[in-house]
């Protein structure tokens, strides 16, 4: 690799890794909102649960936060997915039988409380100091940023693609059909003997687990987490990604994540390059205005997003057509 390519390649793989990890959160939200119509306003909270659980399970002993378990990274990731999925299941069990907005309000509360715990339960989470020295999967390569970032990108890509294909299969499976049936017409689904609450709970927990996994992966990629990584602006970003890309469509979720992440990163670069340091905080606020307006405008003007949902019934529907066509 020639020297002048190292920088761009390192940066490109870093960017793509971040975009893909955001995409994974977005896929989780798509299971909840896109496929099932469940409104989660606490995305940042579930991502944070995953990040903290995995960090605490895998870090060496520390006198700042709970730790010393030094478990393998994969165990941390599994723990993250289980913890975030479990938290989602609890929230779902509490609210899914009630009005739809109560789920939104409760998830909003989860994000507030998780943020509060991350900041104040210092003996567990390290408080404002956060958790450092989180083991990184390819730490031995870290002397070469390009190699390290590429190895990471490969790992992230494998995980995200695996999840993507698994979700695509699920979407086409009877389970995915039931979810969409419940979303479209709850009563019709019930009349076929499907329990809406049970299926919604499963979808909500699955989505939450994916968010937790994404949070853990990002924590192990960067090596450090702190409460301010998981503010409500993260939730907004993920929603903007899904709405821009097209909710209900897994490819849309990944596309939206890449586009919004690119816009976000670019605007950050422009601000730090062009705006004097004294106005940087203000310019950053303006960036959030833009994302909020983008989200609201997209809902009004093009609610289906860039890609939009495919009208899916079953993958066997084509066979039926073929069978019905007279030869």
């Amino acid at each position: 690799m020639s020297a002048d390519l190292v920088g761009p390649i390192a940066y490109a793989s870093f960017f793509l890794s971040m975009a893909l990890m955001n995409g994974l959160v977005c896929l989780g939200l798509n299971v909840q909102w896109g496929q099932t119509g469940l409104f989660n306003v606490g995305v940042a909270g579930f991502v944070a649960i995953g990040a903290y659980v995995s960090a605490i399970l895998t870090t060496p002993a520390s006198n700042i936060h709970l730790g010393g378990f030094a478990l393998p990274i994969l165990v941390g990731w599994a723990g993250a997915a289980i913890a975030a999925g479990g938290a989602s299941a609890l929230v779902g069990a509490l609210t899914l039988r009630l009005r739809a907005d109560y789920l939104a309000i409760t998830t909003f509360g989860v994000a507030v409380v998780v943020q509060l715990a991350a900041l104040n339960a210092q003996r567990v989470t390290g408080g404002a100091f956060g958790v450092a020295f989180i083991p990184r999967p390819f730490d031995s390569l870290s002397s070469s940023p390009a190699l390290y970032n590429m190895a990471n990108l490969a790992l992230v890509a494998i995980v995200v693609l695996t999840v993507y294909f698994a979700l695509e299969t699920l979407t086409l499976s009877p389970w995915g059909r039931v979810l969409r049936a419940i979303r479209e017409d709850e009563r019709a689904a019930m009349s076929l003997g499907k329990s809406p609450t049970r299926y919604r709970l499963q979808a909500f927990a699955l989505g939450g687990a994916l968010m937790g996994l994404a949070g853990a992966m990002e924590a192990h990629f960067i090596g450090f987490i702190a409460p301010e990584n998981y503010l409500s602006s993260l939730t907004f970003q993920v929603w903007a990604m899904l709405i821009v890309g097209g909710s209900g469509n897994n490819r849309g979720a990944l596309l939206g994540a890449a586009i919004v992440w690119a816009l976000w990163t670019l605007s950050g670069l422009v601000i730090s390059d062009l705006v004097p340091a004294t106005y940087e905080a203000r310019a950053a606020a303006l960036r959030l205005v833009a994302i909020g307006v983008l989200l609201a405008a997209m809902i009004v003007i093009r609610p289906r997003g860039l890609v939009g949902e495919r009208a899916l019934v079953s993958r066997h529907i084509g066979d039926l057509d073929a069978a019905a066509t007279p030869r």
Partner: protein, 302 residues
């Protein structure tokens, strides 16, 4: 634990209540949880701050504190104007955003739109006023004994009176006037209300205006009590939701009582566990209500 908790709790409960009333009315009449309601609180506080500055510098009304309160005449004059301005702001937001989604798509996409609006408004306020906190008055008030071994500042007592008066006024408006009757009719059944000759659009506009004005009063109270910052309303959102659900969606007295309960629980928690856990109280209250009685205190079974 000291009985002082009761005073602190009632005062923070009263300011939560002013916000919660607007929230519960929007929820029952427009049928969605408005996540931008916290930003009405913030907007109202900043509007009062800016207007009182304009009034004292341009009109020449004194910016000096009216003894024994630390509230200036300029601010007293600015509050009704700020309430009107926030009402107009709520109407503008409805016109630009929410009215376009009404009846067209799934109810929940309105919630999401309010979520986006909340972020955009908050960040815009931060852009204009920066994230540094502002104050109506930097003067320190001494708490005076008010009997039963309790103490309160003159400001706090004045706020409590204003909050109770506003809540009573809104309650009477809803219970006794034609407008109140149409609001209750629309919240019961919009189509039936329309058929019966109720001007649904006008009722909705009135709901927004009322909610915005009350939120603005709550914002001024929060500003006087603590400070004015872009996140002030956002931080009040969860307590307001908890109070509205605790009181039973659609019930004005319920929302106010719910807010007093949340305020008292917060004050108690601050005393027992430390101020940093205050924000968790509303969540615990919310989960408790949803577990035990999801329809709230004053609510009827769905």
């Amino acid at each position: 634990m000291t009985p002082q908790v009761v005073v602190d709790g009632l005062i923070s409960g009263a300011l939560i209540g002013l916000g919660a009333i607007g929230l519960t009315l929007t929820y029952s009449i427009l049928r969605f949880a408005n996540f931008a309601h916290g930003e009405f609180v913030t907007f109202g506080a900043y509007a009062a701050l800016a207007l009182s500055a304009v009034i004292s510098s341009q009109v020449g009304v004194s910016g000096e504190a009216l003894e024994p309160f630390s509230i200036s005449l300029a601010l007293v004059l600015a509050v009704p104007l700020a309430m009107a301005l926030t009402a107009a702001f709520a109407l503008a937001l409805d016109h630009l955003l929410f009215s376009r989604l009404r009846g067209k798509s799934e109810a929940i996409s309105v919630v999401m739109a309010s979520f986006g609006a909340s972020l955009a408004i908050r960040a815009a306020i931060e852009f204009v006023f920066t994230s540094r906190p502002s104050y109506f008055n930097r003067e320190l008030q001494i708490a005076q004994p008010i009997g039963f071994g309790l103490k309160a500042t003159p400001n706090q007592l004045a706020m409590l009176v204003v909050a109770v008066a506003l809540t009573t006024g809104v309650y009477l408006l809803l219970a006794r006037t034609q407008l109140g009757r149409s609001m209750r009719a629309v919240s019961e059944n919009p189509s039936l209300a329309r058929v019966a000759g109720v001007d649904v659009e006008r009722t909705i506009r009135f709901t927004w205006a009322l909610g915005g004005a009350l939120a603005s009063a709550g914002g001024v109270m929060a500003g006087l009590l603590v400070q004015i910052r872009p996140f002030m309303g956002f931080d009040l959102l969860l307590p307001m939701f908890a109070a509205a659900i605790l009181g039973g969606i659609g019930s004005v007295p319920g929302a106010f009582v719910g807010a007093l309960i949340v305020g008292l629980a917060e004050a108690l928690t601050v005393q027992l566990a430390g101020a940093e856990w205050r924000a968790a109280v509303a969540f615990v209250a919310l989960v408790g209500v949803l577990l035990i009685r999801p329809t709230g205190i004053a609510g009827r079974a769905a």
